[in-house]
């Protein structure tokens, strides 16, 4: 099963890969293990040398590091730097690693000490502002989503092995949602960030009649200003839209602009 990898008679190196987690739910790594139908093929394509959720052995000589989670403590930043130093390619796996994810919601409060007291009381704990990986180290590739889609990871890893270019859809979720013949959720009275969020999820949430919360971050050329108007016309409050924009951190810049516009007393 684990002979020499080859494609069209050309021998290929089997990359040594490692999986790590910082502050996260580890759900993205679980996604990798979830699809039993393709798991063996995936495992023959790579040599996993470090994957705490899946195996006991650990080695630090890896080519590709997949890092899930955000940085919320100084020691995590140190650990991430060490991973970066070991890895030829560092991949941010999932929304937490790419944008801070749900964890970065606490950054939306001005007083982080207050947040710490509310959550932990007097319990001594070290925690700081939540950062995406790219705020600490260079990131070579982002795999978006909360959680990631296993099919997308498999495609990316296959292309890595073959040396093919890796690209993400640059257009919004609407494109995939329409191709799935869904009823637009706005017609059902449900707000949705699909028109501004990067596609690639195959409209996972809208296909299940849940409006998009923007876990994959903004599409290229996302027209937030128009979406604000669309939400307002349909009676969705600016705060309800901000709830979604702030949830995963991909729209942090846009949310900040909206908040400051609202604070200035202008119509958001």
């Amino acid at each position: 099963m684990r002979g020499q990898l080859s494609y069209l008679g050309v021998e290929l190196a089997r990359p040594r890969v490692a999986f790590f987690e910082l502050t996260s739910c580890e759900g993205c790594q679980l996604q990798i293990l979830n699809n039993e139908a393709s798991l063996l093929d995936f495992l023959s394509l790579v040599e996993v040398v470090n994957f705490r959720e899946a195996m006991t052995e650990r080695h630090d000589d890896y080519d590709v590091a997949f890092v899930e989670g955000s940085v919320s403590r100084a020691d995590e930043a140190d650990r991430l730097r060490a991973i970066r130093a070991n890895a030829k390619i560092l991949v941010a796996l999932g929304s937490c690693a790419c944008f801070g994810g749900v964890n970065q919601l606490k950054n939306r409060f001005r007083d982080l000490d207050w947040v710490k007291r509310e959550v932990y009381g007097d319990f001594p704990i070290i925690t700081q502002e939540v950062l995406p990986l790219s705020a600490v180290v260079d990131v070579d590739l982002c795999i978006y989503g909360c959680p990631i889609r296993k099919e997308e990871v498999e495609k990316i890893v296959t292309n890595l092995v073959l040396g093919k270019a890796i690209s993400h859809p640059r257009y919004p979720v609407c494109m995939e949602c329409q191709a799935s013949q869904n009823i637009c959720l706005f017609d059902l009275g449900e707000p949705c960030l699909g028109p501004v969020t990067r596609a690639g999820c195959n409209a996972w949430c809208p296909s299940n009649r849940r409006g998009c919360w923007g876990c994959r971050g903004p599409a290229d050329d996302a027209n937030l200003a128009q979406l604000e108007k669309i939400m307002a016309e349909r009676g969705v409050s600016a705060e309800a839209m901000l709830d979604r924009l702030e949830c995963f951190g991909g729209f942090a810049t846009q949310a900040d602009l909206l908040r400051s516009a609202a604070a200035d007393g202008r119509k958001p």
Binding site: L5, S6, Y7, L8, G9, L12, S38, D41, F42, S44, L45, E154, K155, T158, N159, V161, L162, K164, R170, Y171, P172, C174, M175, Q178, A179, Q181, I183, C184, F186, D187, L188, G189, G194, P195, V196, A219, D220, D221, N223, A225, Q226, L227, K229, I230
Partner: protein, 345 residues
């Protein structure tokens, strides 16, 4: 022209005769937040699920001719080389039951590019040849502007076309296959009264059109208004989301991608419909984007449909179905865009 009239309770019998093949027909998919029914085309197994009273569908029936994603070829790969397999689906018949004139005309337009051109699309052509189409007289909605596009009646491109006369259907028969099927249900020759009723139904339909597009001299006007500020204004609204192209019965632009299987023993080449409004539509090798701005992309969408296609085929690549305007969250509609450009801003 061959006409027949048959009682309404003969239609389920016709359906059952055709249902040996997959039947695609309008069904109700749900209701919107205001209680208005939403229709779409789907594979139907029971005549009772058919909604021949449908106004329009959210999406056109295009996906049964031009799927959003279609496998062009699969490859088996081994050390010695590779083998290609192509399935043109030449042996799978489908029945389209209840297509309005606009959507039939859309197929006729697609035929000009995808069948009658120098480089036909064999996947589309095979599906088109294996499609039995029953047209259906519609009731225009306020946003329908097919009349302006000259697509409110279909002259060809279908097997039979039905008009509801109240207690019976008036059938126009265009193909030998349709004639054979009609021979298996109870029909009669239309009389003077049937002709009068048909004309009254059509007159009533014609009185319902509200939306209009002035297409006179439009190719020249579009040339003159290339720099119109109207384009920028519409571009500012555009979400660049591709929804208009996805619901459109005539948009056929696509991209091709190749993916190798996870076990490296196969590969697949897939065609996916793309949209000229998407940010990467005009990105070329090396990364340069010829149309980085949404207003330019939106403008060229209109130029293709109402200028380039007209110059090539003497008709617009738009059938006035109004789906794009209805689906557009930003409220960009063809009649409004063309009117504003004609005004020069």
């Amino acid at each position: 022209m061959l006409f027949k009239v048959f009682a309404k309770d003969e239609l389920p019998k016709l359906f059952d005769l055709l249902a040996a093949n997959p039947v695609i027909a309008p069904v109700q998919k749900g209701v919107d937040q205001h209680g208005v029914p939403l229709f779409d085309f789907d594979v139907v197994h029971d005549f009772a699920d058919l909604r021949l009273d449908y106004t329009s569908t959210i999406h056109s029936a295009k996906r049964y001719f031009l799927p959003y994603a279609e496998t062009l070829a699969t490859f088996t790969v081994d050390k010695g080389g590779w083998e290609k397999q192509v399935d043109l689906n030449i042996d799978r018949r489908q029945v389209l039951f209840g297509l309005h004139a606009c959507d039939i005309n859309a197929l006729n337009k697609l035929d000009k590019v995808l069948v009658q051109s120098a480089y036909p699309n064999p996947f589309y052509a095979a599906k088109r040849r294996n499609m039995f189409i029953i047209g259906l007289q519609c009731t225009p909605r306020p946003q329908c502007f097919c009349r302006s596009m000259g697509t409110d009646f279909a002259l060809h491109g279908f097997d039979m076309f039905l008009t509801d006369l109240g207690d019976s259907y008036f059938a126009e028969i265009l193909s030998a296959a349709a004639f054979q099927f009609m021979a298996r249900i109870v029909t009669r020759e239309p009389g003077h009264d049937d002709h009068e009723r048909y004309k009254a139904v059509v007159a009533e339909k014609n009185g319902r059109f509200q939306a209009k597009v002035d297409s006179s001299d439009l190719t020249k006007i579009l040339d003159m208004e290339f720099e119109s500020p109207a384009w920028k204004a519409w571009g500012d609204k555009c979400l660049s989301c591709g929804t208009c192209a996805n619901v459109c019965p005539t948009c056929y632009c696509y991209g091709v991608e190749e993916n190798v299987d996870l076990d490296l023993t196969g590969a697949v080449k897939t065609r996916r419909l793309h949209s000229c409004n998407l940010i990467d539509f005009a990105v070329v090798a090396g990364g340069h984007n010829f149309r980085p701005h949404s207003h330019a992309r939106l403008k060229y969408r209109y130029y293709h449909k109402h200028r380039g296609f007209v110059e090539a085929f003497e008709e617009a690549l738009c059938v006035g179905c109004g789906r794009c305007g209805e689906a557009c969250l930003a409220g960009i509609t063809v009649p409004a865009v063309i009117a504003s450009v004609r005004e020069g801003g």
